[in-house]
C-alpha cells in the first residue's frame, strides 16, 4: 500500500517539478513523513551535534527516534555547555523542520528581488557558477570574485579562505559582529594579543560589566550563564558580586546585584572615575603594575617633553564629583563600587560587547580594560586570562598557486581594510558595497554569499541593496530564503546544521579549548548540500590548481584528516563521562597521561560519537612576564596603536597634508580630539555626552539590543521563540519600543499604544511598552524582527530598528564607531 503511494507521490512530483533532483527531495521528506504515520519501533539514539544559532559553540545531543530528530538537548559531556542549553538552541529543532527552508537549487527568472525562481538541479547550478568563475580566471580577473561569509568558523572558514586564495581573489571576507574567536582590538593593542583573551567568570568574585550583555548574547551565553550559577552558589570566596553599567536594564543588568543606569556614552568616564578612586586610595595592585605595566607613571619623551602617565591623568581629571555629573551615577555609589571592585578580587571589568558603546568606542574600551589592569586581574585565576593555545589541528597540504591566482591576490582588497580610516579593521563588508558602487574601483563580477545576509539588520543595508543590483552575478548559499537570497541569481540550498557534518573550534572560553564535531542527525530532508562540499564541487568544476587544492572526496573526509592532529599531538582528551574525567584529572595532576586510543579510527569513532575533544588548562599561574607589545609589557598607552596610526597616516599623506594632520584626522575618526600625544591614553572626551540634553528636535537616544531568543534575527522564524520572545515585556510575535514611564507620561503614551519613532534616517511604527528599566532619555528597541523574507513567521513582523540608525558606519562591526542615533517619538 505504502509502496504504491510512495511511487505515486514520486510520479506526481516528477511531473510537477520536471526535474529529477527535486523529486529526490520531495521523496525523501515524504518518506520520512510517511514513516511517522506508519507503525514504527521507537528505537532511540543520541547523536552529537553543534548548535549553529550563535557563535557560542554549544554541543548538542539530539534525540533521534526511529531516525527522526525529536528533540535538541545540550550534550552533557560537552565542555562548553555541559548539557545545558539556551532557548534558541532548544528551538533549533524547529529550524530543521522550518517549512520555508530552501529545498532545491534555483535560478532567478524574474527581476532581481521579485522572488521568481526556477528549480534546477545541482549539476546545472554548479555548472552555471563554475562556467562564470572559469571565465573570470580566463580573463585574468579572478579578483572580481568576492566571497562573503556569515556566522561560521572552523573548517568551513578555512575552506573558503583556501578557495579564495587558490582562485586568486583577495576579496574573501566575513560579515560578523565581534567574532569571539578573534582578539578584541583592546587586547590586540594593549596586550599585543593575537588570540581572544578569556574571562574566568566562574572564579571571579566581582564582575563589573559595562554594557556587556554577557547573559544574553556575548560569546557563549550558556557557558556564561553556567558561570553565573557558579558565582551565585556561594563558592569558597562567598557569593560573587555583579554590577552592571548600562543605560537600559538588560537581562544581565536585572540579574546583577546593582544596576547603574549611566548616561549613554559615558561608560568610559565612569570607568576612569572608578580608577580615580582606586588610585587615590591606593587600592591597586602595585606589584603587578610595577612589574608588568607601561604608561602608569609619567615619563619624559625623547623630545624632552614631560608626558603625564595614566595615574596622573586620571587623578587629575576624573574626580568622583565630576564623573558623577557626567555619568549621572551618584558619587557615593561610585566610591562604594570602586572600593568593592578593588577589594573583592579577583575582579573583572567586562568591556567587550557586540554593540558599540559610543563614538569613542576604542578609548572607552581601553578605559574599562584599564580597571582590570589596576586590580591586577590580568592572568589571575578568576580574572582576565590571556589567549588560549591554538588547537593542534593538522595543516592542509600547501597550496600551489598558478600565475592567475598570484596576480589576482596581489591586487589590493576592495574593502580597504587596514588602511586609511579603516586602519584598525581586518575586513569591512560595507567596503565591498562601496567598491561596487564606485565606478573607479575594480568591478565585482561574482559575489558568493555563504550564510551572509547583508540586506537585513544593518544600517547600510540600502547601500548593499544598491550594490547587489550592480553585481552581475550574486550567488547565495544558505538554508533559508533570507532577504539577500531574494536578490541572488543563483540559490544553492545548504543542509541544515542537524543534517550535516559539523566542526567547531572553541578557543575563547576560560580554562580550556575544544574541538567539537557534529554528526548528521538525519539524512537531508530536501535536495540540499553541505556548504563545504559545494566548495569542493565548485573547485572540481573549475579544475586546474583550484581543483588540486581540495584533495578530499567529502567534507567528512576533510574533517577526519584535519582532526588527525588532535590524536597525534598527544594533548587533550575526547570528552567522556564525568567519572572518567575525574580520573584523568587526578592522573594529569600527577603527571601521567594514559593513551586511550590505539588507532586514529578508534579516536575518530570516539570523538564523533561523544561530540568533542578538549584540552583543559590548569588554573593559571601568575607567570606573565612578557607581552607581545613593543615594550614587552602591558601598555596603558598602546604603542601599537600609535604605530598603526602613523603607518596609516603616512599612507594617506598626499602633497598638501603632513603626517601630523592626517594622524589628527584619523584620531578624530576614533572619537578623540587630536591634541598631542595624550590622546593615546584611555582618555575620553566628555563633551559629546553633554550635548545630548538640549537637542530639541530629536530628544531621545535609541538603544538597540539583542534578545537571547531571536538574537540578530536568526530565531525569527522559529515559532517557539517568537511566542516567548522576551520575559521583561509582553511582546510575543512583535516588536516594541521600551519607554520609561515618566517619559511616556509626559508624551501621553499608554502601555501597548502604537507610537511612531522617528530619526533623521526614517521612522517606524511600533507598540510602546512602558518599562522603568531604562533611563528616561533612552528608548530601546530589540533587533531581530522586521524581516522582509526568511519564512512565514519572520516575514512582515515587527520592525528592524536599523532603519532608524543614522550612523551609516555600521555599529558592531569590527570597531564599532557607531554614533548613537537620536530619535523622537510621537503617538501613532
Amino acid at each position: 500500500m505504502a509502496l504504491t503511494r510512495r511511487r505515486f507521490v514520486g510520479i506526481a512530483s516528477l511531473t510537477a517539478a520536471g526535474s529529477a533532483a527535486s523529486v529526490g527531495a520531495l521523496n525523501r521528506l515524504e518518506r520520512v513523513m510517511a514513516r511517522r504515520g506508519e507503525w514504527y519501533d521507537r528505537t532511540e539514539e543520541r547523536v552529537p551535534s553543534i548548535c549553529q544559532l550563535c557563535p557560542g559553540g554549544c554541543g548538542l545531543s539530539v534525540r533521534v527516534v526511529d531516525g527522526i530528530p525529536v528533540k535538541v538537548e545540550g550534550n552533557p559531556i560537552h565542555p562548553v555547555n555541559q548539557g545545558r542549553l539556551c532557548p534558541r538552541g532548544l528551538a533549533g529543532l524547529q529550524s530543521l523542520y522550518d517549512p520555508d527552508r530552501l529545498v532545491s537549487p534555483a535560478k532567478r527568472v524574474g527581476d532581481r528581488g521579485s522572488g521568481e525562481w526556477e528549480k534546477i538541479s545541482w549539476d546545472e547550478a554548479l555548472e552555471i557558477l563554475a562556467a562564470r568563475l572559469g571565465s573570470l580566471r580566463d580573463a585574468e580577473t579572478p579578483h572580481s570574485l568576492a566571497v562573503m561569509g556569515g556566522e561560521y568558523r572552523g573548517i568551513t572558514h578555512r575552506l573558503w579562505d583556501r578557495f579564495a586564495t587558490a582562485f586568486g581573489t583577495p576579496n574573501y571576507m566575513r560579515m560578523r559582529t565581534l567574532a569571539p574567536e578573534k582578539p578584541s582590538p583592546v587586547a590586540a593593542m594593549m596586550h599585543g594579543e593575537q588570540r581572544p583573551i578569556t574571562y574566568d567568570l566562574a572564579e571571579a568574585s566581582f564582575v563589573l560589566s559595562f554594557g556587556c550583555s554577557w547573559l544574553e548574547g556575548w560569546r557563549s551565553p550558556v557557558n556564561q550563564m553556567m558561570a553565573y550559577g557558579e558565582m551565585r552558589a556561594g563558592r569558597n570566596g562567598g557569593r560573587a558580586e555583579i554590577v552592571h553599567v548600562e543605560p537600559r536594564m538588560s537581562i544581565s543588568a536585572a540579574s546583577a546585584d546593582l544596576w547603574l543606569p549611566v548616561r549613554p556614552g559615558t561608560e568610559g568616564v565612569l570607568a576612569l572615575g572608578l580608577a580615580h578612586l582606586i588610585l587615590r586610595e591606593r587600592l591597586f595592585d602595585e606589584d603587578f603594575i610595577d612589574n608588568n605595566v607601561l604608561g602608569f607613571e609619567g615619563w619624559t619623551g625623547s623630545d624632552g617633553r614631560r608626558h603625564p602617565g595614566y595615574r596622573e591623568m586620571v587623578l587629575e581629571e576624573y574626580t568622583p564629583v565630576r564623573v558623577s555629573e557626567i555619568t549621572g551615577v551618584r558619587a557615593e555609589t561610585i566610591v562604594s563600587v570602586a572600593r568593592r571592585f578593588a577589594l573583592k578580587r579577583p575582579a573583572i571589568a567586562l568591556d567587550e560587547d557586540r554593540s558599540a558603546l559610543h563614538g569613542h568606542d576604542l578609548f572607552t574600551r581601553m578605559a574599562i580594560h584599564s580597571l582590570n589592569v589596576l586590580v591586577g586581574s590580568i592572568g589571575a585565576v578568576g580574572g582576565v586570562l590571556p589567549g588560549n593555545q591554538s588547537l593542534p589541528l593538522d595543516d592542509w597540504p600547501n597550496l600551489e598557486l598558478d600565475e592567475t591566482s598570484r596576480r589576482g591576490l596581489s591586487i589590493r582588497r576592495l574593502d580597504g581594510a587596514g588602511s586609511g580610516e579603516r586602519f584598525l579593521d581586518d575586513e569591512v563588508p560595507r567596503g565591498i558595497a562601496e567598491a561596487v558602487l564606485d565606478e573607479n574601483a575594480a568591478p565585482i563580477e561574482v559575489l558568493i554569499l555563504h550564510r551572509a545576509n547583508p540586506l537585513y539588520g544593518r544600517a547600510d543595508k540600502e547601500l548593499f541593496r544598491r550594490a547587489l543590483e550592480q553585481v552581475p552575478m550574486v550567488v547565495s548559499l544558505s538554508t533559508v530564503t533570507d532577504e539577500t537570497s531574494r536578490y541572488a541569481d543563483l540559490i544553492l540550498p545548504e543542509h541544515h546544521f542537524l543534517e550535516r557534518w559539523q566542526d567547531d573550534e572553541v578557543t575563547f572560553l576560560a580554562g580550556f579549548t575544544a574541538f567539537s564535531i557534529g554528526r548528521p542527525t538525519v539524512g537531508p530532508l530536501y535536495d540540499t548540500r553541505l556548504g563545504g562540499e559545494v566548495v569542493f564541487s565548485l573547485a572540481r568544476k573549475i579544475g586546474g590548481r583550484v581543483a588540486a587544492a581540495f584533495p578530499w572526496k567529502s567534507y567528512e573526509e576533510c574533517l577526519k584528516n584535519t582532526c588527525h592532529g588532535l590524536f597525534r599531538s598527544g594533548r587533550g582528551y575526547v570528552v567522556s563521562s564525568p567519572s572518567d574525567e575525574m580520573l584523568r584529572q587526578v592522573l594529569q595532576r600527577q603527571g601521567y597521561r594514559a593513551p586511550e586510543f590505539d588507532s586514529y579510527s578508534e579516536f575518530w569513532d570516539a570523538i564523533s560519537s561523544s561530540g568533542a575533544w578538549w584540552e583543559r588548562f590548569e588554573p593559571y599561574e601568575r607567570t606573565l612576564h612578557s607581552f607581545n607589545t613593543p615594550s614587552g609589557r602591558l601598555e596603558l598607552i598602546p604603542q601599537l596603536l600609535n604605530r598603526r596610526l602613523e603607518e596609516a597616516a603616512s599612507q594617506q599623506v598626499s602633497g598638501e597634508t603632513s603626517v601630523g594632520e592626517e594622524k589628527g584626522k584619523l584620531l578624530m575618526a576614533l572619537g578623540v580630539a587630536p591634541d598631542a600625544d595624550l590622546s593615546l591614553y584611555p582618555r575620553l572626551l566628555v563633551a559629546s555626552a553633554d550635548a545630548t540634553e538640549d537637542d530639541d528636535s530629536y530628544p531621545f537616544l535609541l538603544k538597540t539590543y539583542e534578545l537571547l531568543t531571536i538574537g540578530q534575527g536568526i530565531g525569527a522564524n522559529l515559532p517557539w521563540l517568537q511566542e516567548n520572545i522576551a520575559v521583561h515585556v509582553d511582546g510575543a510575535w512583535d516588536s516594541w519600543v521600551e519607554i520609561h514611564p515618566d517619559t511616556a507620561h509626559a508624551l501621553a503614551i499608554r502601555d501597548g499604544a502604537m507610537v511612531v519613532v522617528e530619526s533623521a534616517a526614517g521612522e517606524l511604527t511600533l507598540r510602546a511598552r512602558l518599562n522603568s528599566g531604562t533611563r528616561p532619555e533612552v528608548i530601546a528597541i530589540p533587533v531581530g524582527q522586521g524581516h522582509s523574507a526568511g519564512g512565514r513567521w519572520a516575514r512582515d513582523r515587527g520592525v528592524d530598528p536599523s532603519d532608524l540608525v543614522t550612523s551609516k558606519k555600521a555599529a558592531g562591526e569590527g570597531l564599532g564607531f557607531g554614533e548613537p542615533t537620536r530619535v523622537r517619538i510621537r503617538q501613532g
Binding site: 505504502a2 509502496l3 507503525w39 519501533d41
Partner: protein
C-alpha cells in the same frame, strides 16, 4: 483552517455515530503477506520473541524486519505464493509494510518489557490466540479497551492510577 474544522467535526460526528451503531466495530486490516503464525510456531518451532525481538527488552515488541525473515527465507523454501511475495521483499531489501493490528492510543504509555519481562504475562492474554492462527486475523483477537487493562490491573494488584499509564 475551515476545511480542517469541518473534517474534524465530521470525523468526530462519524466516530460518535459509529460508536452508537456498533459498539465493537473496529475496521479490518489486510496484511501484505498472509503470514501463518501457526505454521511458524508449531512446525518450525519458533517462539514469539524469535521474530518480535524487542518484547522483553523494550517498550515495543518490534515489527519483524525483512532481515529477520531473510535469516531463513533467503530463497524460496516452499512453493507458497505468500512466501514468494516475501522473497520479493527480501530481494528488494524493502521493508514489509505490515499493518498494525493491536494498537493503544497515543495517550497511553504501554511497555512490553514491563508486562512481559517483569510481570511475566503471556502474550495470549492481550493478543489472544494469535500464535494459533493460520492467517492474519482481520481484527484484533482481543479488544484492547481501558476496561480490559483495568480488570487485569486490579486482579494483579498493579497500579490503577490514571497517571501510571496515561501520559
Amino acid at each position: 483552517m475551515k476545511a480542517i474544522g469541518i473534517s474534524r467535526a465530521a470525523r468526530r460526528g462519524c466516530a460518535a455515530g459509529l460508536l452508537l451503531v456498533s459498539g465493537c466495530w473496529q475496521g479490518s486490516t489486510t496484511q501484505p503477506i498472509q503470514f501463518n503464525h501457526l505454521l511458524h510456531m508449531e512446525e518450525v518451532g519458533l517462539e514469539c520473541t524469535d521474530c518480535h525481538r524487542y518484547v522483553k527488552r523494550a517498550e515495543f515488541a518490534g515489527r519483524p524486519t525483512v532481515d529477520i525473515c531473510a535469516e531463513c527465507h533467503e530463497e524460496l523454501l516452499t512453493d507458497s505464493a505468500q512466501e514468494a511475495i516475501l522473497v520479493e521483499y527480501i530481494q528488494a531489501d524493502e521493508a514489509i509494510p505490515w499493518e498494525r493490528l493491536y494498537e493503544v492510543p497515543d495517550h497511553v504509555y504501554y511497555s512490553h518489557r514491563r508486562h512481559v519481562a517483569v510481570a511475566k504475562i503471556d502474550c495470549d492474554v492481550c493478543h489472544g490466540k494469535i500464535g494459533r492462527s493460520d492467517r492474519p486475523p482481520q481484527r484484533p483477537l482481543q479488544r484492547l479497551t481501558m476496561d480490559f487493562c483495568l480488570v487485569c490491573h486490579e486482579q494483579q494488584g498493579a497500579s490503577t492510577d490514571c497517571n501510571a499509564c496515561h501520559r
